[in-house]
Symmetry: C2
Subunit: 96 residues, 2 copies
């Protein structure tokens, strides 16, 4: 299993309608085949500069590849992520 995570900051003001819109509309990612356990989280540590994080699980690399190339993912990245995200850090894990 691969756990895909991304921490990010938005260009929008904290608590703004644009922020709410982005976080709500990201639910489309959970509808893509292969995505399991989709989570949206906010940062509560004062030691980390990133305000939000998404996380999801994939059964294997094939499922992850299918997500990356899925039209709904490609559209979300093109139309929302690339325009509204100021900074991000991806991390993908397998259990030790």
């Amino acid at each position: 299993m691969i756990r895909h995570t991304v921490m990010f900051n938005l260009r929008h003001a904290k608590g703004s309608l644009m922020e709410k819109s982005f976080l709500r509309d990201a639910d489309v990612l959970a509808t893509i085949p292969g995505v399991r356990d989709f989570e949206k989280r906010c940062q509560v540590s004062g030691k980390c500069e990133y305000a939000f994080s998404f996380a999801m699980n994939f059964a294997d690399q094939k499922a992850y590849d299918g997500f990356n190339t899925h039209p709904r993912h490609v559209a979300f990245v093109r139309d929302r992520w690339n325009k509204e995200v100021a900074k991000f850090l991806e991390a993908d894990y397998e259990a030790l």
Copy 2:
């Protein structure tokens, strides 16, 4: 619930006995009261500079505080983490 995560790199060579020792001995963290779902993960993304990650859940801030001040956690940080970890990034999350 609070999800506490930390990404890190060790000073040890990849695949070394010292690396294995650190990752094995970190299991002591899972024995501390309040720690749930302790996970040890390795990085599989080429986009992230951190090689490893630990993650765990706490029911609330009180449980998290109890972990932070627990003698086994304090000793692990003092005797192992501070000496063997080269770089790290903590992130703590609550669900949106």
